[in-house]
Amino acid sequence: MVVFALFVISKAGGLIYNREFHSGLIKLSSNDLLMLAGSFHGMHAITKQLCPTPPTSANTSGNTVLAPSPFVSRPTGIEVLETSHFRVQCFQTQTGTKFLLFTEPQQPNIDSMMRKIYELYADFVMKNPFYTVEMPIRCEKFDRGLDGFVKVRS
């Protein structure tokens, strides 16, 4: 069980948080990381465009739809990217923030990990009164929460 790194990309495509837990990926300068985050943001948008089927609306399963969903059903972009050395799980929140989790190729339970990380983000970043949205995340409690969580897992 190895988690290499976590990136958080703002809805504008800027890298607002990056954290390395295990070495394994090539070390990149912060400029390169910013470029990478920006290009991933663009590629994510392209993968939405390329969708070969019309998106299935989430609330067509039941016949009795009580209220229309406030969110337009759009195709999602990249969710999982696999390479021979690592695997990237991408989770996009409703507000467009993207969480990228770099793990080993055979990592199990990434979904639950992602949910936990999102929870930590909601608790310690979004509820932090001194945090400005879309700005780089510098919250000690978030760092510590991630550390504790990832160390327990690995």
Binding site: I26, G42, M43, L50, I78, H85, V133
Partner: protein, 165 residues
């Protein structure tokens, strides 16, 4: 098992073969009026652009796999290879030959990695019927010489045999 599309790109970024099994979805231009506030939108541009043609798709896919491949090599080292990505709607499989030809297949999301099959398509069909064809040009500008009858039929039977619907 659903196959959506298959593309071959040569080393000059050109799409030399493409096959779609499903028609492009009519891009529904229904947009809701957006409020201009940047806090409430989630960064997605409103889908108001004109619908894309097949050649636009090909260029987008080439650009996409090219940048993904570069990103993967930057992060994982020179010997790392990009295999596939998955969205909620489809999965893209990728295979690159040593001569930088790129084979791309779009399928539904439940498909396992198709890299071995893409390799077989290259080795058993492309090399046999296109490269060894004395009448085919060395390069394939505009896809000349690729979509010959033997290759098409071979591809069809191969897909029928190894990827049953």
């Amino acid at each position: 098992m659903v196959l959506y599309a298959f593309y071959i790109f040569d080393r000059h970024t050109e799409c030399i073969y493409s096959k779609r099994w499903t028609p492009r979805p009519a891009s529904s231009g229904k947009t809701r009026p957006h409020s201009g506030s940047s806090i409430t939108t989630n960064g997605d541009a409103a889908p108001t652009r004109k619908p894309m043609s097949d050649s636009d798709d090909q260029k987008l896919i080439f650009g996409l796999v090219f940048s993904l491949r570069n990103m993967v090599q930057k992060l994982g080292g020179e010997d790392d290879t990009f295999l596939s990505y998955r969205t909620a709607e489809y999965k893209l499989h990728y295979y690159e030959t040593p001569t930088r030809m790129k084979f791309v297949m779009l399928t539904d999301t439940k498909q396992n990695n198709l890299r071995p099959y893409l390799h077989q398509i290259w080795a058993n069909l492309y090399v046999e019927y296109v490269v060894k064809n004395p009448l085919a040009p060395v390069e394939h500008p505009g896809g000349i010489g690729v979509a010959n009858e033997l290759f098409e039929r071979g591809l069809e039977t191969f897909i029928m045999a190894v990827l049953p619907a």
